[in-house]
């Protein structure tokens, strides 16, 4: 695959200039996600009020794919209901497994830029790390 399509502008941009990579003050929920194969470690932090994600961030260390994916994710879920965020996580994880429909991927907007990663088994775990963590931490909410 063309390396520039893989490390496209969206990915490199979010990696270089993440909007949401910082600690959150008084998060309501937080969870650490680890990808042992490449040592990615991120902690997702969220503020939730009346079932709505009012603020979010992530901290940690990892490859461009995991960092960009987490940044895009946080950007998308702020202001959304928890159940909507979980719905997006579900689509994203299925997209990476090549199980999501075109319409669903459209719902993902910017996060759809990571679709090509599904052809890279070694990088799949990096791409879904943030989304998996979000899914875990909001279970039962």
């Amino acid at each position: 695959m063309d390396i520039k399509r893989f490390y496209n502008e969206i990915v490199t941009d979010h990696n270089l200039h993440p909007l949401h990579k910082h600690p959150l003050e008084d998060p309501d929920i937080e969870l650490e996600g680890v990808n042992p194969s490449c040592g990615d470690e991120i902690t997702v932090q969220l503020k939730v009020k009346d079932g709505v994600i009012t603020d979010g961030s992530f901290i940690g260390d990892g490859c461009a794919v995991s960092q960009a994916s987490a940044d895009i994710m946080i950007d998308m879920v702020i202001g959304k209901k928890v159940e909507q965020a979980r719905h997006l996580a579900d689509i994203f994880i299925r997209m990476i497994k090549c199980e999501a429909t075109r319409e669903e991927i459209e719902e993902l907007r910017e996060a759809g830029a990571l679709e090509d990663i599904s052809h890279n088994p070694a990088r799949v775990k990096c791409a879904v790390l943030g989304w998996h963590t979000l899914d875990e931490m909001t279970k039962g909410m």
């Binding site: 390396i3 893989f6 490390y7 490199t12 270089l16 490859c63 461009a64 794919v65």
Partner: protein, 409 residues
Amino acid sequence: MNKEEKKDLITNYRKLFPLLSDDIAYLDNAATTQKPGVVLDALKHYYEQDNANPFRGVYDLSERATELYEAARGKVAGFINAKYPEEIVFVRNATEALNLLAYSWCEDNLSESDEVVVSVMEHHSDFLPWKYMAEKKGARLVKLEPDQTGLISDDALERTLSDKTRIVALTHISNVLGRKNDIKHIAGKVHAAGALISVDGAQSVPHTAVDVRDLDCDFLSFSGHKMFAPMGIGVLYGKREHLEKMKPFLYGGEMIQTVHWDKVTYAEIPHRFEAGTVNVGGAVGLSAAIDFINGIGWETIEAQEEKLTKRAILGIKDIGNIRLIGSDRPEDHKGIVTFCVEDVHPHDVADILGKAGVCIRAGHHCAQPLMDHLGVRSTCRASFAFYNTEEEVDRFLTELSKVRGLMGY
């Protein structure tokens, strides 16, 4: 031989490896090496002509399998200059060798208040078994620390050894730093302190002549697959006097003398440590790999690997914005070059190079305590075999020089 002739020589050797081609530059030899045709042929020949369960049959075929297996043992003994063939125990890999040793040896030789010294640069395979056994026995695990270049000073050694030290576990060549430890010198000091030394030879035996009697190490572990042999065969060498006193590691067939409901006696070494049906094919493959190495000669192998290492390190310095891990001097890196590209995660670097057909490794290289010690989370590693070429190193450098740009720097 002039330069051109040497180059032709390597090109010709390359042709002996079916997997090698110009499509990819395979620079992950510290993880595993490719296999030459002679090794694959030996395997095939064994399974086509000589395969039977060794030691169990009295018929010809089984005896042939037994003979081949024992001949391989003799070949390995000669290769590392062991005094007796029974000092060679066949196992699956270095990891199994180190587990066998730690479990069996510590079981009877370690007690509360004893100390086990392990260097901080050990592969997890040479750290976790000792850690587990030390904890189990209530002994203390003592950290031996090299400096940032991987050098173990006499000072550091003397500070770590005590009259409580029972055994020291140390790698011959670090799989991250690439630096060769002066085992002979260190073994002298360890023995003077009344302890034994176990050497992890996973990265040394494939790349340089190792003479266990000259080094005077008590144990040596290595894997066949890192030295052109098949996966699934490895070696634990131990001085006879030590092995003879050790209890079995795995129990089952082939490792006994007599078994009755109330009384069991175990086989002599090395069979005591080789429970179950053994890997004759693997041993035959390893034997062929040793012949192959001997046929090429250490001089050629080491000269080529040195040349490639130097070229890679100088090239990396030229590119800039790359941190070399370990010593600054090429001669301190035995075929292993570990580095971090500033601002770019090693996984991204390896992925970018991988997509351009250059195979390198990224991650913690199963040496997380060393990563902590060096203050890095993970790194990239290029590692050479004698069949790699200067063109491959240049291809690696060219792709490496593009990485920061591709990532927007």
